[in-house]
Symmetry: D3
Subunit: 236 residues, 6 copies
């Protein structure tokens, strides 16, 4: 991801990005029904590195499987590149954990940018306290072996009904998490950055009492003039 | 709504109102599974002004539809009377937003009393910070055009499996939101107000160590005597 | 429950207990999808005392049923032993309340250790403020009579798809609630206590930058040596 | 059940009974989402004899539990009175079977009137071929021990979100199964029998081209006159 | 609808129509999870005439409401034009009926082309025997008054998560029901008719042992030549 | 698969196999909630060849993708070995088709043993008429491109919440479909074959009026003696 793209995406919302993607025909890039573990965690931003779970066959998922350094869950934790976002396909099943605090802490220490599952994390209070961007559906204490077998690293997956390809740009805020197709990241960042300026301007106007007709969207030429003046004034 | 009714309802809970309605044969007036965007937002109270969404047909829901001042979503935002509560039938589908922060801010500035959807709001953190009573199922970033087409203003709707008619009195607290049929608002307010006095009394007694038998409900005459004394003492 | 067992369980997480149970072939002891009413409430710990609800037939569930001291819901509130945890089988149906603040306050005043339902509580904000361990699926204002008839006290039940027998040891933290079969409480407590020491050690190491291979699980003999030293140093 | 009641109920539909119950304030007596195993099976009619399942704890549900004649599932099969209907509370979970062909055949041979579960039966094709009234949600091959532990015989239960008390009169047709509260069976049978006569008359008229206004319901006095004539003519 | 359009649509499948709509950007026109009451019923085809249900408030939904000829459900039955398809928005809730055999028979006798609900019909066996195109989610015996209040006639609705506008062309087969936007009916019919010819040709070839590469889709020029010959030979 | 294993499995039910797997600690091998397209289709038996779908990103799923012979869905249809069963992971989403009649016909003509999806098939009536073992959740007309992108061939997958590995032995009957881990196929076949003999014997006895105690399971030595005689007599 270009630095400029990164800098812009850090300042825009998933809602604005979703609209920019909608304009281009993308309707399902939002990872549905995942939530930040802490309302105070930083913005989530990075390129997707994925982990795929399948249902856990009992004979293949005893506790000693973790003694194998090649176990895909543990390997993924050590392989996920710094700056990337680990995205887990847990088949929207939060009855057992996708991971816990020790693994998430390791991701954080390794410089990974954040972690997302459409299942649940165990040790959720500890993870919430890390100040690390983490998203799940809900807390879930049982070990992943109970229901989830890690099977593939960095393949295309589904997460919360969204398609996620390795390298997609993942952005998360309080509304949730969205996957931006890699080849569109620059143009979406540029457009969302511009849209955000206008939205901030419109929000100010609405806060000041102006109605939405002509302002949002900017069908009144006056709105665009006012916006131009506002940008100058606010260095936006 | 009479001022007296309004004043009383402001001090009672949705739980107490639900019981008063239950006595009269109403079992489904609670809007199911909607939650306040902020735990600190004020009580929600006002008469329902409704907006009905249907599934969004793609050709009728491009971004430029909002350029039309007659678009029902935008029109509803500007038409909802001050003091009313906008209630949105989003078919319990939170995969796309029912509205976002700019529109909700506009409602607030126009003096609207609050907003409820059985779907989700985008820009949920910004809305939560407004200090404005807002309820939804969960945050949802995608633009409403993705799945929801606003089609009717101020018709009877379903919201969270509850029937909501324009003019119904809408009350919301931390437990959620309930719709009081308009013609019953005064008597429900009066009864719930009285019930609340007794509940506060009973809570005090239970906090002081008294058991619930005879006290809750007040089958012991002594309970009613004590309550009478308590009311006098507490000006209730 | 032995004092030692109680003391140990107070310091371990549901996640660790879930793993200790998983080792013994127990996969469904976690009560699914219940949440603490307050993030600040104390740890939940005690032996299960159960209440079973069935769907409420309308003629048997008018408000005056509570005038009967033998009504199972009210009787259960007064009968639940101090130190026990009341666990309610609400058939995973949160459309009506399992109980409200007055009854939960009474439980607290009677010395009960906490309360769990796989439905919802009404007066949820008041309950959250009690500082009493309480878990439900979501807030729900309608009186239990709307949908739930209390029918049995202290029989084996399902709660959140987990089997709960009277006397099972119930442990709850921010991740949720787990039922430990009574006959295993001592050994699970002992094992989880030991596991927790190692997890705390491993967490420290990971925070200090060590990788998980060899450390978690402790396949590297060095890890066990370091752990032994750490225990000595930390009196664990 | 009186013979007359039985004779009448055999000729009426669950739909008609549901309406007669609705008039008396009963809204949830229909067992939701259960289906006949065969479209050709006879009408289901008899008094409820219940079996309650709870989630199956693994250590208590190994295959050898069935060696115990006191096991509640097996005991219930041999105890259910001839003429009764066995109704199973499987917690609406069809992921494992509630029973299979051998047990259902035994019920049939013992003169039991039929069987209902809100879960699923295994050996569904064999059961469908028995000509025995059986209802479930869907076929389910795994042994009940996988998820269901039989725990109580002939207690009040929920089945498909309906309340079912031992002795309730159970009626099933192609639309599904309804529970008639025992004390109302005679009057519901009488009323439904009369309603059915009118419905048959109205159906004939509608088949002959008459409109529904005035006919259904019979607001036009002419309709009642015609009906009287029709009854005489048809010996109804 | 033009006669030619009608004649063509009668011979094509919902699957083929769905693909033709997909090419034009329509993804949600299939009414999800509705099923024919009988596998033998004729093809469903006609223009949509809609009925909207909302949740039934108890005081407004007593049995005597049907005495009013203006009641929207009963009025809709008598107003639906011959040749049209009645489509009911039952909010995907099959816990109570959308209609029963008498009303559906009346629709049939009036020359209506068929009926669709995303809820359920009562008297489902009788309706199945009519030889009339009828689709629902599942059978449901309780009277609609239990949960559904008919509120609007011939407005745009959602049905099974599809948008349905009055006048849309409704087509149903064994796979289910699809809504073709009215302005596209002619071109979709023409295209689907052509596609069907090719699919029939391809099916024959596959039945004869040919592989799908080059044939389906027709990327091999030989396939188009063979198809041209086939059309001539078969008068298609 | 050995011929003997194949011959035995053809004569046993998924229910019996599920019990044999349960004895060995396997609880989730049944593919949940899939149904035969026709009640008359032959038994499904063969080794799994898998296809994995992910959510369909719009830009990668236009109709022309099928022009590519390397498209995983089309390639899988031509690559699936004769005698194998194609098992599709459609993420339990039946809103769009997993495949249609032309592709399923091609599978049949190629000698494939059957097809299973946890989504839905389009052209379901045509597939049902093929006499080919096919299982899905429900019919679904929209092209798979609407929601499903084929992404991987013959990798381990989840299907209906069951783990399915390439080479697992897939068995389907009227109850549904089960995956037997490849390394256990012989012993499961042998054991299920023996169990089936006893079940057939027990069924005969129950049909003849014998009770289940001592017979099912065979805790009475007399039952085993009778069974030995029955086997001799029936050449089993």
């Amino acid at each position: 991801m270009k630095t400029e793209t990164r800098d812009r995406l850090r300042t825009v919302s998933t809602a604005t990005v979703a609209t920019a993607l909608f304009k281009r025909g993308f309707r399902i890039q939002m990872i549905q029904d995942v939530h930040p573990l802490s309302p105070d965690q930083p913005v989530l931003l990075g390129e997707a590195f994925t982990l795929r779970y399948m249902p856990a066959r009992e004979d293949l998922n005893t506790l000693d499987v973790f003694r194998d350094r090649g176990h895909p869950q543990r390997k993924a934790i050590e392989d996920c590149p710094p700056g990337a976002v680990m995205v887990m396909d847990s088949r929207k099943d939060a009855r057992a954990a996708s991971a816990g605090a020790i693994l998430v802490t390791r991701l954080m220490k390794r410089g990974v940018a954040g972690v997302v599952t459409d299942g649940g994390f165990r040790d959720s209070a500890e993870i919430a306290a890390l100040g690390f961007p983490a998203y799940h559906h809900r807390p879930s204490a049982p070990t992943n072996l109970t229901l989830h077998q890690a099977i593939d690293i960095n393949v295309p997956i589904g997460c919360g009904d969204a398609p996620v390809f390795p390298g997609d740009v993942i952005l998360g805020d309080r509304d949730g998490v969205i996957a931006i197709p890699a080849h569109l990241a620059d143009e979406i960042a540029a457009e969302a950055f511009e849209m955000t300026a206008y939205e901030d301007f419109a929000t100010e106007r609405v806060q000041a009492g102006q109605g939405i007709f002509g302002l949002y969207p900017a069908t009144d030429p006056k709105s665009l003039e006012d916006f131009a003046a506002w940008r100058k004034q606010n260095n936006r």
